[in-house]
């Protein structure tokens, strides 16, 4: 029993890494179609990663050990954070070790090293990107925690597996607090994963970049890891939104059949989320850097409203 549980968890973790580029490829494909273009194949991000892993990693003369180590730390921390979120089935031994606060901590760790690496080489762009990233994340993190706490209060646990299970087992009623938390978390996810309107993942303009500016100096396998970590982060937020708010279909046992159904269901949910993201990125222009705080304040406000409505409407009901 325990061995199969760990096997399933290992499978989930591997699936995270394997599916991450596909989600990015899917979003790009839909965006291209919406712009009347054919676009690259959905497999293109895999090819890019493969290409980058095969290339020589060039380093600036001023780069320190931190610059070399950062891609591995960023990738591993992001991956670990993802491994604590149920992807295809709920029973996960990892969720006993890591709750949502640990996930937020791991993401913060990754960001911390990403920002340090951005500043390490000493180029103006890296420093600028790092300062912008910190500026955005300082506002995004409280909003994210607030949104997740709304769920945690309902389920009486900060453990994501329990939150998901609580919602599945108990009831299917529409909770106003969940709606607010969902809206808040969506805004946070957009800002945190560097999507339009907070950041533009497709830009070549150094001066407008946030995330891309920090990894400008990377090449080869280091760049591949950084890119992969960013893709993982997008998938992580996608799964968080899909499984925590709409958990139906996720495998509740350790059986192979349940897990397979869970996989099909989550892929479908992510595909739909990807379409929604692509549509919103097509109809919106990127906002000014100084509008991002207002955007994240809205996220915080929504999360706070969720918390309040939980206390007022749902406690004791």
């Amino acid at each position: 029993m325990n061995a199969s549980l760990w096997a399933l968890t290992l499978l989930q973790v591997l699936l995270y890494a394997a599916l991450a580029p596909l989600l990015v490829g899917w979003v790009r494909k839909i965006k291209a179609l919406l712009q009347n273009r054919k676009g690259a194949s959905v497999w293109q991000p895999y090819r890019d990663l493969y290409k980058l892993f095969g290339k020589e990693a060039r380093m600036a003369h001023t780069a320190s050990i931190l610059f070399r180590a950062a891609p591995y730390i960023v990738f591993v921390a992001t991956w670990l954070a993802a491994s604590a979120i149920p992807l295809i089935a709920i029973p996960m031994p990892t969720s006993a070790i890591a709750d949502v606060i640990v996930i937020a901590g791991l993401l913060a760790l990754a960001r911390f090293f990403l920002a340090l690496a951005g500043m390490d080489v000493g180029t103006a762009f890296g420093g600028m990107g790092a300062s912008r990233e910190m500026f955005v994340s300082a506002l995004a993190e409280p909003a994210m925690l607030m949104a997740v706490f709304t769920l945690a209060m309902t389920a009486h646990s900060t453990n994501l597996a329990s939150v998901v299970e609580y919602q599945l087992v108990n009831d299917n009623i529409l909770r106003p607090s969940y709606m607010f938390a969902l809206a808040g978390l969506m805004l946070v996810a957009i800002a945190e994963t560097g999507r339009i309107p907070a950041d533009n993942p497709a830009t070549h303009l150094e001066l407008t970049m946030i995330h891309e500016a920090m990894i400008l100096e990377y090449s080869g396998r280091h760049l591949a890891l950084m890119e992969w970590a960013a893709q993982l982060k997008l998938l992580l937020y996608g799964v968080l939104l899909a499984n925590v708010f709409f958990p139906w279909g996720i495998g509740q046992g350790t059986g192979f059949a349940a897990a397979s159904i869970g996989l099909v269901v989550i892929v479908t949910k992510l595909a739909l989320l990807g379409v929604a993201l692509a549509v919103s990125e097509t109809v919106l222009a990127k906002m000014r850097v100084f509008r991002v705080p207002a955007f994240l304040n809205l996220a915080l406000l929504l999360a706070l409203l969720g918390l309040l409505s939980h206390v007022i409407l749902e406690v004791g009901a």
């Binding site: 965006k31 919406l34 712009q35 009347n36 273009r37 103006a124 762009f125 600028m128 339009i196 309107p197 533009n200 497709a202 830009t203 070549h204 303009l205 150094e206 001066l207 407008t208 097509t282 109809v283 919106l284 222009a285 990127k286 906002m287 000014r288 850097v289 100084f290 509008r291």
Partner: protein
């Protein structure tokens, strides 16, 4: 054109400033401009009088003829052009500067200083401009003794000690950008001084695409010069070629057949539309609105394929030749162009309203990169940058040259001066150009497309003024007795829109620079020559 109604008062004002006009000047040798010869000492006073009259400075250039360096300045007022001329001795090459009265002329004077070694007294900035560090001190490429091939050093010294003006203060940091950029654009260096995200100062360092156009033009025949002019800036090839041909045709008094003129105008308007389309898309792309970019890129591509099938060149290079155009327009081609006009205006009817009604897009473009009308006037900016900031000037309308003298040219003029206004000017220029194209196609004259080209055996000079898609282009050509070019100078509108960019970025954030830059879209190549 006012027909120089103001000239009498101007001459009186010059006399009031004790500016001595040299008698030997024949004012009618540079039609349609009026030429005045002044003494070197009076060079600055003449500019002072012009500034007081409200003249716009349209450029300054020099030339080494015999034992003298002749410096010429072009001023525009009410659609008339005035050329001031003064000789300077190469032994003691100093001249008062026009920059105190015309701050936009700063770089052209530094360019002249670098190329011919004429030092400008009381010039606010003595740093080199075009002549980068590879040229040794005291070598002036446009002087006789300097070979056309230059004297390339074995290894170019590192370009690290250009003295940028520094902004000091706590929390001020510099951001060096370029000369190599991430996108597929030309090279140029931008030095930002910023506090946090706010830009305190932007300084440009250009000259990386200096090709020696002025020097290699020497000794060319008219056809060769027209081809060279078409390569000053690839996106403005039609307008530059037209301006150069116009200068030579005026010099030789060649009258171009009406059909050739109409075809030239068709080429110029098609160039304008193609570039404006590309720009509108690129501006939207710089604020992350890729949809517009894709649509505009598609429209532009179709437009340029039309160029390829009708005129045989996507960018319309070398379609204008001295005395006319390379070939006539067949009936089928004319029909194809008409269909393209209709298709494009139908597409624009659906595309432009989307852009105008997109709140998140307008939020980024409105109030970004505002160029005040006062600054635009001071710098003498023309084209869409000027028109968006209240400079109501269009060569096609105000200094009408054939065939525009027979057409009604409308020119948009806005006062907001922001990126949104520059997009709006472009959009309405596309509309107007489509109207002009329809008008030209309907009344195509008949006849030859190539004038008889006769060269009188005497040295002769001419000036060409054309409204390119970026704005006014002023071209000066002087040909020797053998019919070979002795001096060629083409003033691209970018000479004034680059300083305008430095100006309009004030008070904006670093992250908005790309969209401001794209909305100005000055040419590196046209500026660096």
């Amino acid at each position: 054109m006012s027909g120089f109604r103001w000239l009498h008062d101007y001459l009186a004002a010059l006399e009031g400033e004790h500016v001595v006009l040299r008698e030997e000047a024949d004012p009618h040798t540079l039609p349609p401009a009026h030429r005045l010869m002044v003494d070197g000492e009076d060079w600055g006073s003449a500019a002072k009088v012009s500034a007081a009259f409200g003249h716009r400075h349209a450029g300054v250039w020099g030339e080494h003829i015999g034992d003298w360096i002749i410096v010429r300045a072009c001023l525009a007022f009410e659609g008339d052009y005035l050329v001031l001329e003064t000789p300077v001795s190469p032994q003691r090459p100093v001249l008062p500067s026009h920059s105190p009265y015309y701050s936009g002329i700063d770089r052209l004077e530094r360019h002249l200083q670098d190329m011919l070694g004429v030092a400008f007294l009381d010039h606010p900035d003595s740093r080199r401009w075009t002549r980068h560090q590879a040229w040794p001190e005291g070598s002036y490429p446009l002087r006789h003794e300097s070979p056309a091939s230059g004297t390339p050093p074995k290894r170019t010294p590192a370009d690290s000690d250009y003295p940028f003006v520094e902004v000091l203060g706590s929390g001020v940091y510099q951001i060096p950008v370029g000369p190599v950029h991430a996108g597929i654009i030309e090279p140029g260096h931008f030095r930002f001084h910023a506090v946090g995200e706010d830009v305190l100062r932007l300084e440009q360092r250009l000259g990386y695409v200096h090709k020696g156009i002025e020097k290699i033009a020497e000794g060319r025949d008219p056809e060769g010069l027209a081809r060279l002019a078409g390569r000053i800036s690839g996106d403005t090839t039609v307008a530059h070629t037209w301006a150069a041909c116009m200068a030579m045709e005026r010099a030789y008094d060649v009258s171009v057949p009406p059909l050739a003129l109409a075809i030239r105008a068709i080429l110029a308007e098609r160039e304008r539309i193609a570039n404006h389309l590309g720009d509108i898309g690129a501006i939207c792309n710089d604020v992350g609105f890729a949809f517009a970019h894709m649509q505009c890129a598609r429209l532009r591509e179709q437009w340029q394929r039309g160029n390829q099938s009708v005129f045989g060149h996507r960018l319309l290079m070398d379609r204008i030749v001295p005395g006319g155009v390379f070939r006539t327009l067949t009936y089928q081609c004319a029909e194809l162009l008409k269909t393209q006009n209709q298709d494009l205006s139908k597409e624009l009817d659906s595309l432009l309203p989307i852009l105008e009604d997109q709140p998140s897009l307008q939020d980024r473009l409105a109030n970004t990169g505002v160029l005040a009308a006062e600054d635009a006037r001071r710098l003498g900016v023309t084209g869409y940058v000027g028109k968006a900031s209240g400079m109501d000037y269009d060569v096609r309308r105000d200094h009408a040259y054939a065939p525009y003298d027979r057409l009604t040219v409308e020119s948009p003029c806005l006062s907001a001066g922001d990126v949104a206004a520059r997009v709006q000017v472009r959009a309405s220029e596309i509309r107007h150009s489509l109207g002009l194209l329809n008008c030209l196609m309907e009344n195509l004259p008949k006849g030859p497309v190539q004038a008889e080209w006769t060269q009188p055996a005497k040295a002769i000079e001419g000036i060409g003024v054309v409204e390119g898609w970026r704005g006014e282009i002023v071209t000066y050509v002087r040909l020797g007795e053998d019919g070979r070019v002795q001096r060629f100078f083409a003033r691209d509108p970018s000479w004034f829109s680059w300083p305008a960019l430095e100006q309009l970025i004030h008070g904006n954030i670093v992250a908005d620079f790309p969209v401001c830059n794209k909305s100005v879209n000055a040419s590196y190549s046209g500026h660096d020559l």
